[in-house]
């Protein structure tokens, strides 16, 4: 329509703070991943530079809640399980630690040894990771989570980087990008996980040849039509403005992105009444698709990568604000 969308900053802040207060039943399907939803809200507020929208008392409550989710001991170790949860989930460990960092916690109450032992127990002989000890699928997402956890705890000794790298390379496809695993179709999400994991392990340019890097760059930049899609011939989806955008940042060619088209697309997916972002554009004011936590967070980060709307810079590898990453670094000193 040619109408310029405005960035509804205040509404997005309210959207995220509301999530932290109550998760509507629509999220019942995510009951097992409440921590990831909390992460989207917390990190979203961080990138919006609006963490002060959460009262300090609430911040402390959230920190306490996260620590209650810490599982000390799993079937691989001899330690006793200290709470009702049977075993941990690698994505919760990643988002839990990230959330603590975002809230300024010093991670002192994290049982670093147990945490890393838990991660170690999830790595399979082929180098990939499953998500929980009791069993799950294993793929690129969980390698990424493992690398993030090791980075945040400043300790890579628990994972076998060689086999993980091997798994990643085996997941390279004919079109130059990465699938979830060997044989799987290349995809924006798994490509991000592969690039970020290699970068976090310090192996991106030593593992991929110049030719492979070029092919990868070409595939990634080809994802942009207006916004970005996750695979050729799929519709643009807000979240790929981050998954692919961040990959391009890591590859060093983000400047090739058409900022205006990307911004216009992401803003068109805003829910201007409720706040937040949906995966697809709001076709009419009545709203066709509801905003959700993940796409809202990714939408904000997608814009932040372009340094727009006074958003805080985002670290493309850990997927947290630069500020949170700097806080993490002070803890490592």
């Amino acid at each position: 329509t040619g109408m310029e969308n405005t960035f509804e900053r205040k509404k997005h802040i309210r959207f995220f703070t509301r999530i932290l207060q109550i998760l509507p039943s629509r999220y019942a399907i995510l009951d097992t991943s409440r921590l990831t939803v909390a992460f989207f809200a917390l990190s979203g507020l961080g990138v919006l530079d609006a963490l002060d929208a959460i009262p300090d008392k609430d911040k402390q409550e959230i920190i306490e809640w996260i620590y209650t989710l810490q599982v000390v001991g799993n079937k691989a170790s001899d330690m006793e399980t200290t709470n009702n949860y049977d075993c941990s989930h690698i994505a919760m460990t990643y988002t839990g630690l990230a959330s603590l960092l975002i809230l300024g916690d010093d991670l002192r109450r994290v049982n670093k040894h147990a945490c890393l032992e838990g991660i170690k127990a999830l790595q399979l002989p082929d180098g990939s990771f499953k998500s929980s000890y009791d069993g799950s699928e294993n793929d690129m997402r969980f390698i990424y989570c493992a690398c993030c956890v090791c980075t945040m705890l400043d300790d890579f000794s628990a994972i076998n980087q060689a086999t993980a790298t091997n798994f990643i390379m085996k997941s390279l496809c004919h079109d130059g990008a990465f699938g979830q695993g060997p044989g799987h179709e290349s995809h924006g999400g798994s490509t991000y996980c592969a690039c970020a994991s290699l970068q976090l392990m310090g192996r991106l340019t030593t593992t991929l040849s110049p030719k492979q890097l070029k092919r990868l760059e070409y595939w990634c930049i080809s994802r942009q039509r207006n916004g970005f899609n996750g695979r050729p011939h799929k519709d643009d989806d807000t979240c790929y403005s981050f998954w692919v955008g961040a990959s391009l940042k890591i590859l060093g060619i983000f400047d090739l992105v058409d900022f205006k088209e990307n911004e216009n697309f992401v803003l068109s997916t805003q829910d201007i009444i409720v706040g937040g972002f949906a995966k697809w554009p709001q076709i009419n004011p009545g709203n066709i698709f509801a905003a959700d936590a993940l796409h809202s967070y990714m939408g904000v980060c997608g814009l932040a990568l372009m340094s727009l709307h006074s958003l805080q810079p985002v670290d493309p590898t850990l997927n947290i604000s630069e500020r949170a990453r700097l806080h993490m670094q002070t803890l490592h000193e």
Binding site: S132, D134, Q180, K211, S222, H233, D292
Partner: protein
């Protein structure tokens, strides 16, 4: 998270909805408590299967609950007869299929189905292929389904040739079928590998593929699948490293080496120089400050008496 529709409601409808949600929540929490009781007590029985079935019908991504069912079936495997087992597993497959109808992109559901196929007596792989066909009809880009299909092909007697024909059919129906081209890219090297690179297709099939893909982009030049595939067919695999030129400058005591593939200086340092069998202590440098170099230079000791001879044997051992 996958595009749920919003529906406008009046205040009355909203209140009704709230009451309904409260009730649902209570039931869900009750079932969850009952299930965790079973999990903690390690009680693997029909009651547990019934409770967990209720939960999974509401939330088929609940991996902890799927794991309870997994443990139950493993328990059954050691306690039930083959007939009973088969019946239970087949009921499970029906249940999973129902969950998939509502949630075709659920990692947990597909993963659990893999478990069932690997654990049950007499798995019917043909039927699983048909299931894949069905789900691909709903959405031919559903990569969960494609991945499951590859799992089925891997574990059953399906020949790569048959699968290749399957992709051919899909492609002929609709050239814009990226997932089919991808599937093809994984199967053809199995059937007809390039002897130099197992991830590439042998010469013989390459020409046939080229014709197929050219038909594709002549039919629809805007289809990316064909162009990416074409690029892959034409591209050579990774070239083998070799020295294209070695220049020895006696007056300068210098070696200049150009390579077929660019190397980093770190990789370069692994090249050892021998003059008449004696290893020389050299440092390689690049020609500019680029990270990857095609050429590198090493200085040899000027005092090397070997320079005085008219013949000397120089060998290089690149990695």
């Amino acid at each position: 998270m996958h595009g749920r529709l919003k529906v406008k409601t009046t205040a009355e409808q909203a209140e009704e909805k709230r009451k309904h949600r409260e009730k649902k929540l209570k039931l869900f929490q009750g079932a969850k408590a009952a299930a965790f009781k079973k999990i903690t007590a390690k009680e693997y029985d029909r009651e547990g299967l019934h409770i967990t079935q209720e939960i999974l019908t509401a939330n088929s991504d609940y991996y902890t609950i799927w794991n309870y069912r997994k443990n139950t079936f493993l328990h059954y495997k050691s306690t039930k007869s083959t007939e009973e087992l088969l019946e239970s597993f087949q009921a499970e497959l029906s249940f999973i299929q129902n969950c998939l109808k509502n949630n075709p992109k659920s990692y947990s559901c597909w993963n659990h189905r893999c478990f069932v196929l690997l654990t049950m007596p007499e798995p019917d792989w043909k039927k699983e292929l048909q299931l894949c066909n069905l789900f691909l009809q709903y959405d031919e880009r559903n990569f969960h389904c494609w991945d499951y299909r590859r799992f089925v092909v891997q574990h059953s007697a399906v020949l790569p040739g048959d699968e290749i024909n399957f992709t051919h059919k899909l492609i002929e129906n609709n050239f814009s079928n990226y997932s089919s081209w991808h599937h093809r890219s994984k199967l053809l090297p199995i059937q007809c590998p390039d002897l130099n690179d197992p991830n590439r297709i042998g010469e013989k099939m390459l020409l046939e593929e080229l014709e197929l893909v050219q038909n594709a982009f002549f039919t629809d030049p805007n289809d990316q699948s064909a162009w990416f595939y074409h690029r892959w067919l034409l591209g050579r695999g990774e070239t083998k490293q070799s020295i294209t030129c070695l220049h020895v400058s006696k007056p300068d005591s210098r070696l200049t080496c150009t390579l077929r593939k660019r190397v980093s200086l770190a990789q370069c340092s692994s090249m050892k120089v021998y003059v008449n069998g004696q290893q020389q202590n050299v440092t390689w440098t690049g020609v500019d400050d680029q990270k990857y170099q095609h050429a590198c230079i090493a200085s040899l000791l000027k005092s090397n008496s070997l320079w005085d001879t008219t013949r000397c044997q120089l060998s290089l051992h690149p990695r």
